[in-house]
């Protein structure tokens, strides 16, 4: 039988050298921002019960999850999302802690993406969640944390704001089945104007229908709020719009350097978002690199209702962008190669140890002879070789 022992499964990869360095340095920057703002790290299991990620709640399709069974035959999945485990954890084990609770994580997530699409099935996300706090202070804190975290890794990105409540409020007023409502949501999400129009034309004319028709067109800069002024008379929608506008103004005041955008047609499948949602885009990259929002009703599903907001940064995407832009750190050779003459092997290791303590990157020579060690150093770009015998002799290799 053919053995699959020389390759990795589709959607996975080995990370080598500069890829690792870049990934780790991004993780360090992002988690540094989180930690400095009082967030504490948690690690959740790599696989959890399927029920935690119930598609009705998460919007994650059943077929996108890698499934297995546990020892009792119950379905478990490789975690396809990180907000849901955090909600589970907070609603159960942390429910009695004083609020708010600030958590962060850097973990891989797994999605079974369609074959041959070039999508990665294993990606690392770093995220922060602020649980047990609602209101503008919490929202601003999280957006500012997102800006600081992403800004620390990437210059120049655009932040986009939306409000999940606007579509929900409008859609709830339509006298249609849940399936039709889902169709409408998909058409708005994909800005499928033609299909949306066709569907809405079949409904009785009303202010709600005409507002929904306009929703996917309402994206861009601050002018969107002017264009959405027709919703201002609506007692349910106008507080949401005003709130979004207020946040928009305050973020500009926060000193956000990039461009800020608004999209009132942000109606993502992640149906757990309830209020403000935000995402970040980078020039020349087809997907959002950061995504988050407020999910005030999610924790109730796990038995402990509380408001919460969070976001996740896609570490692998940022790493790819930095490497592509040649902004990634390169792998540097060792500063010193330490070679022990016969009988001085231990002295050589001790010498290497003391150099390493001074902050030098030291490699130990495993070669039998001095000449071989020097040749190796030249080949690897190591500029200095310390030969440890009775005395220590330094050879400088010039390339």
């Amino acid at each position: 039988m053919k053995k699959n022992n020389k390759t990795t499964p589709e959607g996975t990869k080995d990370f080598l050298f500069e890829e690792c360095l870049t990934k780790r340095s991004i993780e360090k920057t992002v988690s540094g921002v989180f930690a400095s703002r009082g967030f504490n790290e948690v690690i959740t299991p790599g696989f959890e019960f399927y029920d935690v990620f119930d598609p009705d709640l998460s919007g994650i399709k059943q077929e996108s999850m890698y499934k297995m069974t546990d020892k009792s035959g119950r379905i478990v999945v490789m975690r396809p999302d990180l907000t849901l485990p955090i909600a589970r954890l907070t609603a159960t084990r942390l429910q009695n802690l004083p609020k708010p609770i600030r958590l962060y994580y850097t973990q891989p997530v797994y999605r079974n993406c369609p074959g041959l699409s070039g999508r990665r099935d294993e990606t690392t996300q770093a995220g922060a969640e602020l649980l047990g706090a609602g209101g503008i202070r919490a929202d601003l804190e999280m957006i500012s944390t997102a800006v600081a975290a992403l800004g620390g890794c990437l210059p120049g990105f655009r932040l986009e704001l939306g409000h999940a409540g606007i579509f929900r409020a409008l859609a709830d007023r339509l006298p249609v089945s849940d399936d039709v409502r889902e169709d409408i949501r998909v058409y708005i999400e994909t800005k499928n104007y033609a299909a949306l129009d066709a569907l809405l034309n079949g409904l009785e004319k009303s202010e709600t229908v005409s507002a929904i028709r306009k929703l996917p067109h309402l994206f861009g800069g601050e002018d969107v709020f002017e264009k959405a002024a027709f919703l201002g008379g609506d007692s349910e929608l106008s507080p949401m719009l005003n709130y979004l506008h207020k946040i928009y103004g305050l973020i500009s005041e926060l000193g956000f350097p990039g461009r800020l955008m608004v999209d009132l047609g942000l109606v993502q499948r992640n149906s757990y978002y309830t209020n403000i949602v935000f995402s970040a885009y980078v020039e020349g990259f087809g997907d959002a690199v950061l995504f988050g929002g407020r999910y005030d009703s999610l924790l109730a599903y796990f038995g402990s209702p509380m408001p919460a907001i969070g976001f996740a940064v896609n570490i692998d995407d940022i790493s790819e962008i930095l490497i592509r832009r040649k902004m990634a750190p390169g792998v540097r050779p060792a500063d010193v190669l330490v070679h022990g003459a016969d009988g001085y092997e231990v002295n050589a290791l001790n010498h290497a140890g003391s150099l390493a303590k001074k902050g030098l990157k030291c490699e130990n020579s495993v070669f039998a002879g001095e000449d071989e060690a020097v040749a190796y150093a030249k080949a690897c770009g190591i500029k200095r070789v310390d030969i440890v015998g009775k005395k220590i002799k330094t050879v400088v290799c010039c390339q």
């Binding site: 070039g118 994909t190 800005k191 104007y193 033609a194 299909a195 020349g284 087809g286 997907d287 959002a288």
Partner: protein, 210 residues
């Protein structure tokens, strides 16, 4: 700023797409005399046009290596993907239909049927919506052959005029849905280059409506 890059479906939709660009006032000389070049400047380099197979148009737009694409709804339904489908361009009109030998009672009886299609996904969704268990066989070439050779009871395929069906003793059993060319946009491009894209789509909308 890089020029907006637009992926066009080669073949059936190509001529209509290029004349749409000409109607919105873009000079397509280079794209019309393309020779062997694959990336062609349009309107003095304001846009770049890439000619690709239908399914690849979606792939290029999904990844954002092309900002916009013109592709048939048939390919969109079959392949799916993550992009904005902003406009029905109105050309390349035809339909998906279930077809079989003249006079067959496809929906009669309870034995599971076999259906051949170049669009197994579309066929699968269609029968799923009818809660029917059907065996679907993917065929790459002339699907009409499958029922004639006795491989399948019916086919799901694109029907334009129905002439091919007629000449082979087949007929439409049930139309599934209409198809036409669509303008698709990468979501990040739509956000980052809104002005340019909207000024182009507004002009196109104007042309398509008139």
């Amino acid at each position: 700023m890089k020029p907006l890059r637009i992926a066009l479906t080669k073949g059936r939709l190509e001529e209509n797409a290029l004349s749409l660009f000409e109607k919105v006032g873009c000079d397509c000389t280079a794209a019309r005399n393309k020779g062997r070049k694959l990336i062609l400047p349009v309107d003095g380099g304001r846009f770049e046009v890439v000619l690709a197979k239908a399914a690849d148009v979606i792939t290029y737009v999904e990844y954002g290596v092309c900002d916009l694409g013109i592709v048939g709804k048939d390919t969109i339904l079959e392949k799916g993907g993550n992009f904005f489908e902003v406009m029905d361009l109105g050309f390349g009109k035809c339909k998906f239909a279930l077809a079989g030998p003249v006079g067959t009672d496809f929906f009669g009886g309870y034995s599971a049927k076999t259906v051949a299609s170049k669009y197994p996904h579309v066929a699968g969704n269609y029968f799923e919506s009818k809660a029917m268990d059907v065996k679907i066989i993917k065929i790459e070439g002339s699907v009409e052959l499958a029922p004639l050779l006795g491989l399948s009871d019916a086919i799901v395929d694109i029907v334009e005029t129905g002439t091919t069906l007629k000449e082979n003793g087949l007929e439409v059993i049930e139309p599934i849905c209409g198809i036409s060319a669509r303008l698709i946009v990468n979501p990040a491009s739509m956000k980052l280059r809104k002005m340019e894209i909207e000024s182009l789509t507004e002009k196109m909308e104007h042309v398509c409506k008139s």
